[in-house]
Amino acid sequence: MANLYPGRRRRNVIWTGLAYAATAFGLAWLALILGALLWQGFGGLSLDVFTKVTAPAGMVGGLLNSIVGSVIVTVIGLAIGAPLGILAGTYLAEYGRYTKLATVVRFINDILLSAPSIVVGLFIYQLLVVPAGHFSALAGAVALAVIGAPIMVRTTEDMLNLVPNPLREAASALGMPRSFVIRRVAYRAVRSGIVTGILLAVARMTGETAPLIFTALGNSLFEVDPTQPMSSLPLIIYEFARSPYAEQQKLAWTGALLLTLTVLGLSILARALSAQRGANQS
């Protein structure tokens, strides 16, 4: 009988080598992207970035209006999306856990979770921008709410499912109505989990560009009125990165660095929070 061992060993070395190579490939991309961001972005960081509004080519400008715009749009989006997402998640986990409706909502929510964001933008354009007759930060915020809410639905439901039933039963036995059991007992037990969901949603919403192009549109002036078009970091990166002027390209990179640090910071914070939770439980 032929000795199969050398062949099997060789195949094993080749394939496991490829698995190592795949990992190196993935890590290399992360390193290259983050390296480029730091290299290009840090050089442009100055006080002007935070104190001046975007300027036409040839003039000294900053990103103040875009940073403020990003914050406003995300905060309004969160104010709409968070109650919606958390309450819907509560329904799925508490009231309708085994009902048909919950099964359908869960399925639809999972699809919304990865639906193309540009399609959400078109939907909000049709729903809010066309009837209003003009672009507005509010429309952008609603689009972001539609993108963020499914994340919070999912995490809220998952977290509430972790609450042990005896806890609910004990509260009910004291005579608490169901809604009080949920708010005073279940929510408190999983508060950090729900906050994790909110952080993840904010991270996703902050980085989104596509749905803002035809809702918030962008604005080169300083604007805080949510019924008007408003700039935001992703929008200004989109505009300036394609600009032929070096100063604007530099600002685009600085904006990209700020955006990435914010988004990755939020997701790392969320991860740390849930890791802490896991440590407490075990």
Partner: protein, 329 residues
């Protein structure tokens, strides 16, 4: 003695009356909260229906004007008000296909590395690093792609492909033309990296569901790591892996910003994947702001509607497969 008995009785009675009153007072907020959660759940349901209905209404003028031609014509001419979406639809499918061909094997390779080969202390940091790739906003992939990847593609990778595979009969046609840096292949490559973390995360999760006994038994009879993965892990988790791959495909199909930056935005179809092209999402992102209301806007809406239907089918299939798996577990 009788007096005390009566006292206690009335005490209990008044307590139960108090309790009934308190419960009555709480009944309204209680049902209000319940209905609020039900309402929110229904809103989530309506959102998806709303997307479908709004996009369909918006795209109706285009569909009724061009009919089936909208799908099979690649003539996109705003000045003449003639719109055919074939170039965008085909571009979307091809970039996603390239992304899957590159991204799925690499994503699976990383998952295998993380579950079978990686030393335990390194597992968490490397896993987190790969997941960070999913956290980077897509516009960052776009700006990076234009400034760093495009020059490298133009100077090294595309000339290499043209000079090697470009001369091979049959598939050579896919790799011909001038090295522009921009193009369908570059977009597919960026998409591949963007879907990596999704493939890896789900494969890793399902790989972890393989009972250790099965793997240990295989190692015990002398199987190599490669044989364990190929004969035990992958067959055991096939449905889950396919579900994860479909989920990643859903992401690739709808990805907008990164693709817009690097695909070159040419609204026609080329035989070569090195040539410039477009996708549904890139086309919408590029042209929607300048589109005049009427047929132009409606045609872009129609493209959005088609994208929505395609991703809906892919994502629904993915979720269905993953749900089947959960039922089994």
């Amino acid at each position: 003695m009788t007096a005390t008995a009566i006292d206690t009785l009335s005490g209990a009675q008044s307590a139960s009356i108090d309790r009934a009153a308190a419960l009555k007072r709480l009944r309204l907020p209680d049902s209000l909260f319940r209905n609020l959660t039900l309402f929110s759940a229904l809103v989530v349901l309506l959102l998806l229906a709303g997307v479908a209905v709004a996009l369909f209404i918006g795209s109706w003028p285009a569909f009724s004007t061009f009919g089936l031609n909208f799908f099979i014509s690649d003539r996109w001419s705003p000045p003449k008000q003639i719109f055919g979406g074939e170039a965008a639809i085909v571009g979307t499918l091809i970039t996603s296909a390239i992304a899957m061909v590159i991204g799925v094997p690499v994503g699976l390779g990383i998952a295998v590395f993380l579950t079978e080969l990686c030393p335990t202390p390194l597992r968490r940091p490397i896993g987190i690093a790969i997941e960070l790739l999913a956290g980077i906003p897509s516009i960052i992939y776009g700006i990076w792609g234009v400034y760093y990847l495009r020059p490298v593609m133009q100077a090294y990778i595309q000339p290499f492909l043209i000079n090697t595979i470009g001369d091979v009969p049959l598939i050579g046609a896919l790799f011909q033309g001038p090295p522009l840096g921009y193009g369908v292949f570059t977009a597919g490559l960026v998409l591949a990296v963007m879907i990596l973390p999704f493939v890896t995360a789900i494969s890793r999760d399902v790989f972890d569901t393989v009972p250790s006994v099965l793997k240990e038994a295989a190692y015990g009879v002398g199987a190599t790591t490669f044989e364990v993965v190929g004969n035990i892990v992958i067959p055991y988790t096939r449905v889950g892996v396919i579900g994860g791959v479909m989920l990643a495909l859903g992401r690739a199909l709808g990805e907008t910003m990164a693709v817009t930056f690097v695909i070159g935005n040419a609204s026609h179809i080329s035989a070569s994947i090195l040539a410039q092209g477009t996708t549904i999402s890139a086309m919408i992102a590029n042209q929607f702001a300048d589109a005049d209301p009427g047929l132009f806007t409606s045609s872009l809406m129609a493209l959005g509607f088609i994208l929505f239907i395609i991703t809906f089918i892919v994502l629904a299939a993915a979720r269905w497969m993953l749900a089947e798996l959960e039922l089994k577990a």
